[in-house]
């Protein structure tokens, strides 16, 4: 039997994602790729494979899947309720899945984007150098119920590893640096932006999220007649009516609304994982501080496989696995892996 994952049910907007495509910006194609790059790397570390392997990105909730061959899987990103043939599966962990086993992944308990990785990676078509589906560009399409997702050969064997639960799933403080259009905004507007608590709009997607706040907008008089200029993920664009949008991996490559600043790459996983209705704030940092954060992020990514530990039925381990749910106020009894 071919190695594949049968999709019985799936959340709307779920897509196969890898690290996206570089080199097509000049043709108007933004990089795209997994919204939460850290989750992509965590899955690769748990399965001991290349970070170029494609995974399934699950926005808000998961679906029901069945393996057509023995597979290894890893679950990362926004923690979701997960079960295999009725038995709870630990999140942020890797598992063996026998032929015919039914994997059910429910709604996110925190955060926005969950990831289902398979040993070997998904072997969907490569277009313009990547398997990443780019919904905004019309490259590939969202996964639908009854789809069969081919899985590449898996050279690894290890399962039953876990990574410590991260805390990036509740919004919070996001660091930003000044960009080439920050000067369009007067200092009082910038200060007010940094003091404002924003709420993630429920319609957020891979292109970007509208940032809702009380009070006046953040418009600039210089805003509407400037030339369209390059956009990068993390840019905070202010439209004509003063509404801020945080632009993400699948944003357009250029745009004419001015950008107030740019969220640093190290904080983008936290930004995209802010749950619907979750709040966030922004703080300008110096370039030096931002480079330090970038270095720490690269070091962290390089260390991920060393942080993987065996998933054991040990009470002390248990507490760690459950800590996330306890912090976020979900009762421990509701935790999907409370019997692990």
């Amino acid at each position: 039997m071919t190695r594949a994952l049968n999709v019985h049910r799936i959340a709307p907007g779920a897509t196969v994602q890898d690290r996206g495509r570089t080199g097509y910006r000049a043709f108007g194609v933004s990089c795209g790729g997994a919204a939460d790059r850290l989750a992509l790397a965590e899955g690769a570390a748990l399965l001991g494979q290349s970070i170029d392997c494609a995974a399934l990105e699950l926005p808000g909730s998961g679906g029901v899947f069945e393996a057509t061959a023995p597979l290894r899987i890893a679950l990362t990103g926004a923690p979701m309720r997960a079960q295999m043939d009725g038995a709870p599966l630990a999140w942020s962990a890797s598992h063996a899945v026998p032929v015919g086993a039914r994997i059910e992944i429910g709604g996110a308990l925190a955060g926005s984007y969950g990831y289902l990785h398979v040993g070997g990676g998904f072997q969907t078509p490569v277009r313009l150098g990547a398997r990443s589906v780019h919904l905004a560009a019309g490259i590939g399409s969202a996964v639908q119920a009854q789809d069969v997702l081919p899985v590449a050969e898996d050279t690894g064997t290890e399962v039953g590893l876990c990574l410590p639960q991260d805390t990036r799933f509740e919004g919070g403080m996001l660091r930003m640096v000044e960009s080439f259009q920050t000067g369009f905004f007067d200092p009082p507007t910038r200060d007010r932006f940094a003091q404002t608590i924003f709420r993630r709009d429920a319609r957020a997607n891979r292109m970007g999220m509208r940032l809702e706040s009380e009070g006046a907008g953040f418009s600039t008089s210089e805003g509407l007649n400037i030339l369209s200029e390059s956009i990068l993920p993390g840019d905070i664009q202010i439209t004509g009516d003063g509404t801020p949008y945080l632009l993400l991996v699948e944003s357009q490559t250029t745009g004419g609304y001015p950008r107030l600043g740019t969220v640093i790459p190290a904080d983008l996983p936290r930004a995209v994982q802010t749950p619907a209705g979750g709040t966030m704030r922004f703080r300008f940092v110096s370039r030096d501080e931002a480079v330090q954060a970038q270095r720490r992020m690269q070091d962290h990514l390089a260390q991920l496989s060393k942080l993987c530990r065996p998933l054991v039925r040990d009470p002390s381990q248990m507490r760690e696995l459950l800590s996330y749910q306890l912090i976020s106020g979900v009762t421990a009894g509701d935790a999907p892996f409370s019997e692990e």
């Binding site: 194609v29 019309g138 640096v177 000044e178 960009s179 007649n225 369209s228 390059s230 790459p265």
Partner: protein, 248 residues
Amino acid sequence: MDAAISKSFEPLIRPAGLDGVLVSFGDALTEPANRAALAFATEVEKAGIDGVEDCAPSLVSVFVQFDPVHLEFEALVDRLEALLRDRNWFDAAMPEGRRFIRVPTVYGTDLAPQLDEAAKAAGLSSEEAITQLAESRVRVQTIGFAPGQPYLGLLPEAWDIPRQTALTKAVPEGALVVAIRQLVLFSVSSPTGWRHVGQTALKLFRPDSDTPFFLRPGDEVQFVPATPDVLKHHADDPNGGAEIEAIR
């Protein structure tokens, strides 16, 4: 090219977020600045600077993406400044292999509902607006925003109209929109702040083709008035009934 214009703006290097640099050849769209951006982007790519990950021209600028941990911002700026000193980029030649493309276009009607509004903003009657737009031979100044999507210009001065304050929820693929003396032809359905004045049947991006992008910087385009029936007739033609000839 007018030497006085080309000397008036010193190329400007500024950070774009943490991992980007923007090299700008103007603060307004001029032909020399656009030529400079297209040629300099090619040069940066050729230079193969270690730590540079991507490079793309926009209208009058070049965006360079780099790894800020392995290539210091200041070191990259030094390299770019050295390249800038190599020559006068403002009189660079246009890219090779340019084409003149005439695209059947429906102006106004329910297919392009903002023609009247845009004409008013430009201080023209709707008929005058159609005539001016249809007679303009505009050039692809850059590809951006969405896959294969051109920014075209320049239009007559009357068309120096601002973007809308609020976004239009969505214009369809092939939509011709206008603002600030430029036209944009949409390659995908998208929200936009530009006004929708014409509709074409062009498929600018063909992800499964060997040549996925129809237009290239330097190509010249004229949007020839057509009826909705003509457009319907070309619905299955990815070129949307366009006539293409080489520019020699």
